[in-house]
Symmetry: C2
Subunit: 148 residues, 2 copies
DNA sequence: ATAAACCCTGAACCTTGGTTTATAGCAAGC
DNA sequence: GCTTGCTATAAACCAAGGTTCAGGGTTTAT
């Protein structure tokens, strides 16, 4: 059996740089990775599963320190299942909230795009500019629009 | 008419800090905000609309520099509508892609949570630990699990 | 008329998440 | 055995997005 991977192979698999993997190891995210007799990191297929999980947590915005905590719980055996659940549940809630905010903001962007795409866009924008200008003027504030 | 706002009021409205607004101004995000005779920033209702847009773009991950570009286009009048559209469209695509990745990762987190919530979780995790341990051993690598 | 609370600027500082650089030890092909 | 390419560590560096601090005016309530 020769199913192990070098750091470069792993980096390519997960679209990370070798330095990022070094960095993650230094941050304590890869306690499961052992080194061979000359000090090279030797990644097993199970290590890839852990790294996949790390990427998944990272991609959903979990900070390195929290990922480290999670991995550390994993290394402590089945007794930590309740803590892992609690940690992931809290993160899940955060991700769902983030999704909601993202969806909301996306809809606003879409509304703006619709306004810009409207055949009457130019007129709409021009009257908006007039409105803002009038408001500024009413408060004796400078007109913010570029007048060329 | 007394409908203007101080920086502190605006900060509270948008859940930003006063320093963040100062920072944004310094970065060129608030060219529309004028100052009163003693140099205090005076925010009008239209300014709030712009700030709302800025927050919306920021919350969807647009970098400060790009937001600056967008605002700058807005200040240049209706002629820049095509460029604003292009910018927002590109951003929209990025946000949709981000949503997809987030959704994908969320599902994986949910799968992990389901495993941990399973009545047989302990058994599952324990046999996983055994598997990993065997794999490490087969490659003459250290057992990564904490043995207490 | 004075203290407390607010505003300003500029510069220094901070955190996160890496990347780069320098130096050196292995490995594989020719 | 030499070159090329991989690996390692440590430390310096970087960019983004703010925050904090120092020094100094303003406004408001008492």
């Amino acid at each position: 059996m020769k199913t192990t991977y070098t750091i470069k192979e792993v980096a390519e698999m997960f679209d990370l740089s070798v330095s990022t993997l070094h960095y993650y190891d230094k941050q304590g995210l890869l306690p499961f990775v052992d080194k061979n007799d000359v000090g090279y990191r030797t990644f097993t297929p199970s290590d890839l599963n852990f790294i996949h999980t790390i990427c998944c947590l990272k991609d959903t915005g979990m900070p390195i320190k929290t990922i480290k905590t999670y991995i550390s719980l994993c290394m402590q055996g089945a007794d930590t299942i309740p803590e892992r659940r609690a940690l992931l549940n809290a993160h899940r809630d955060a991700v769902v909230a983030k999704q909601a905010r993202l969806e909301e903001s996306l809809q606003e962007i879409d509304e703006k795009l619709n306004r810009y795409t409207d055949p009457a866009a130019r007129g709409l924008i021009e009257s908006e500019i007039e409105f803002v200008t009038a408001e500024k003027s009413a408060h004796h504030l400078a007109n913010p629009f570029v007048t060329q």
